[in-house]
Symmetry: C3
């Protein structure tokens, strides 16, 4: 699955971008991130035009970047304003500047033709904002595996039963059929698994106090290529939201992943868990942070292994797909279409 | 030298295959080994048919393997008997099962077309069995070098004088000419070096008590591609076996190597030393185990170095072969013929 | 920039070549260095002709090298004088012997057609000899970067201001224009930067006692491909050498680099700093050794980074060159011409 260009990607959490340089490779492009003195995020190609020294190895002079090798100096726009040993600045002395948007706790960067940036909507995750009524735990794990492995992983939650057994998986997850749909217009992939009478996994029992059997809904929205949302609702068996949308008996967890290809064979796995219950309970927050990190690391380990398998296997291995893969296969189709459109 | 397919290879010592999975790559094929509850060894392709997750990262349910990612479940035959989220098992849901035979302390696995497994005889090393009258010390070392380097090494024992000088080598080994023959029918390579009046190397002096000069015979049988036997006899100078085969003055050591290609550039070096003397003497056993491990590691180090040399050298390096290489060259010819026959 | 063959290269400092083997790769050729019992340096191809075992893993028997694998034995000339198991030495049993010259504290080795060795003059650095009136501190750092990166680095000293800011760099270095010339006959590249009224950097203030502003001359002579000389003179502002060449007010530092390609992507960076002042002062010697090592490591770190950048960047990156690069571009042109002449 090729990397899809002409798209917005999550490059970092907002808090990661400061007055110190952050070097990150996004879709094979080395980029340096920092903030101006006014706090605006900046994203520049991380290579000096002179002898390609990484600007992230440089220093800031106000809002300007001074290359650490020979002193070429750049504005946040990428324009070069100083070169050593002469007054004239060559006309082509300019590094690429990337469109950036700070939104929903993320620094989004546009990879591809910058002219197209404004036309592409950036998907939203409003519960990540401080005033949203949700409390969020979050992290980021680099994975030495192609991004399509993470898409596969997240679009098919039946793996929870096995890879995360004893954590978030129960037999019902693997056994309950899914409903999959694709919005052909936007490429949004939806995968829904609604368990009406299921065991309450330890993860949720501990954080909600529900110990009897539960109604458990998992509604995935995958905004290809980067943003994955899992709307999770658990409630006592038989409880449904009110017709006006209120849902006093439900416990809502918004699980957000940003899937950002780093290189052809690695991906940045940004993960967040936001809840609207037990918001003041620091123990629950700490538990969720630790617990979810464990679950994410189980995925990381599995995908690192799979990448190793793929890289050493002979050409022409044929996967076998079954019903649970409908979401993942739909996502692959959307990604393929997007990649072709960008090429 | 390509890897020879349609052949039996030693995959493990019997004791290595248990109710825990053993993952091993044999001739570039990832295989998982385990035993059923009845103790029968099983060898399956170490890749789930669904998303290629290694089955060795899974768990056993009785005799069945349950994939650790999504729960695909396999019989020892390789047949899939469960997939998540649906009742119907796809007809093609099956992993390859390899022919295995447990014999002479080894787990042999057949690499290639399983239909040919029965036609190919498995060479024997009966002294490795508990009731053989021999006591054996053994080990296995993975070498980061192509298997042909180990074949070269073992077929030409003149290197004992230099690489293992002070251990098993003495000047006579390098100086004594060899006799080489090939059984064209079976491809068996024989290399014989019979020293009638030689120094007794420390290795043997220590374990037999012979300190004067000795008659020392080294009779190699190489059953290409995998099994290498070195029949070693030492005795006082002038002593020969009786016409009826008995040999009361001789000390016999059966040195067995299984040469199992792991990948194109690595090999598993199974080594065993079996003796028919001082069988009850634990000190001799301990000495032989430690001493032979040292000698094997001298070979391992040398072959790791040689592989590094080959991988960085320009194309077209020409080796220079001399008389001592007759056995190794004969082995190469046999291996080439076997590889062509299998291709 | 390809490696230039048919040239003399510095392989080692004389003191590195002893009765123990020194294995070093020069211009992609593995070579073993040692001294005969008479102290003469020897350079042989580090591969036995038999099975390519590195001779550097062998032992010396007098002046002869005995291969550690099967005992093939070589004279310093490369001629084989013993093989195991037979009397006849094959006519082709010979390893390549390289022309070597010990001069100015270096072991020089000729890479290419040995017939051409005598025609090629070896550039001199007489201040490195014990009786020269100079005191030298020296070191060698292997760099995981192609040698052309080190040539670029050394031919353009404006980087001192940025990469070595606070060490040897001051603003004047980057600001002062350079004069560049090439001797078309010999390929010698000269780059001169003469600052008539400059800040005295801490490096020199500490070692000369000059603290006011200074006259600072940096006269580079690059004898492509291997020897780089930087004649540095500092003196009080306005002071010039006498017409007879004496220069009592000047402090002279001869900075010598030998730039020896190890492989296509790595280089050996031999560095020396020789001074004609404060010669008895051990503190100055210690300071210079430590200080210059720090400066060299700043270069090493930068070039390691640049090599990583080049190896992962897409094809077709275009550098932007300015006036300060005149020396480096001239050197590239000379190297290209030399490489073409040798090919």
């Amino acid at each position: 699955m090729p990397i899809v260009r002409d798209q917005w990607y999550v490059a970092a959490y907002g808090a990661e971008v400061t007055r110190e340089f952050l070097a990150r490779t996004i879709c094979n492009e080395p980029i340096v991130f920092y903030r101006t003195e006014d706090g605006a995020p900046v994203a520049l190609a991380d290579r000096c035009v002179h002898r390609r020294f990484p600007l992230s190895q440089s220093r800031l002079d106000g809002d300007r970047v001074v290359c650490g090798y020979h002193g070429f100096t750049y504005e946040p726009s990428g324009a070069c304003v100083y070169v050593p040993g002469q007054q004239r600045i060559p006309r082509t002395a300019r590094v690429a500047s990337y469109p950036v948007v700070e939104q929903d706790s993320f620094i989004w960067v546009f990879i591809g033709d910058p002219q197209l940036a404004e036309q592409r909507p950036i998907p939203r995750a409003p519960w990540l904002n401080p005033d949203s009524g949700y409390v969020t735990v979050a992290g980021m794990e680099p994975i030495k595996g192609r991004y399509s492995l993470l898409v596969d992983n997240l679009l098919d939650l039946s793996h929870e039963t096995y890879l995360h057994g004893g954590y978030i998986g129960t037999p019902e997850v693997a056994e309950t059929p899914i409903e999959t749909s694709v919005d052909e217009q936007t490429g949004l992939v939806r995968v829904s698994r609604r368990m009406q009478d299921a065991e309450c996994p330890p993860f949720y029992a501990k954080s909600t106090g529900l110990t009897d059997r539960i109604s458990r809904w998992q509604d995935i929205e995958y905004h290809a290529p980067c943003l994955y949302l899992l709307h999770s609702r658990i409630a006592p068996v038989g409880s449904v939201p009110n017709p006006d949308g209120t849902d006093p008996e439900g416990f809502h967890t918004e699980i957000t992943y940003a899937i950002t290809p780093e290189t052809d064979n690695s991906v940045l796995d940004f993960w967040m868990v936001s809840r609207d219950f037990a918001r003041e309970d620091a123990d629950v927050t700490e538990f969720l942070a630790k617990f979810n990190h464990t679950v994410v690391m189980q995925d990381v380990d599995a995908l690192n292994i799979l990448e190793g398998v793929i890289e050493t296997e002979p050409e022409g291995f044929q996967e076998l797909s079954i019903n649970i893969d409908a979401g993942g296969l739909a996502a692959r189709k959307v990604l393929k279409r997007l990649a072709e459109a960008a090429a």
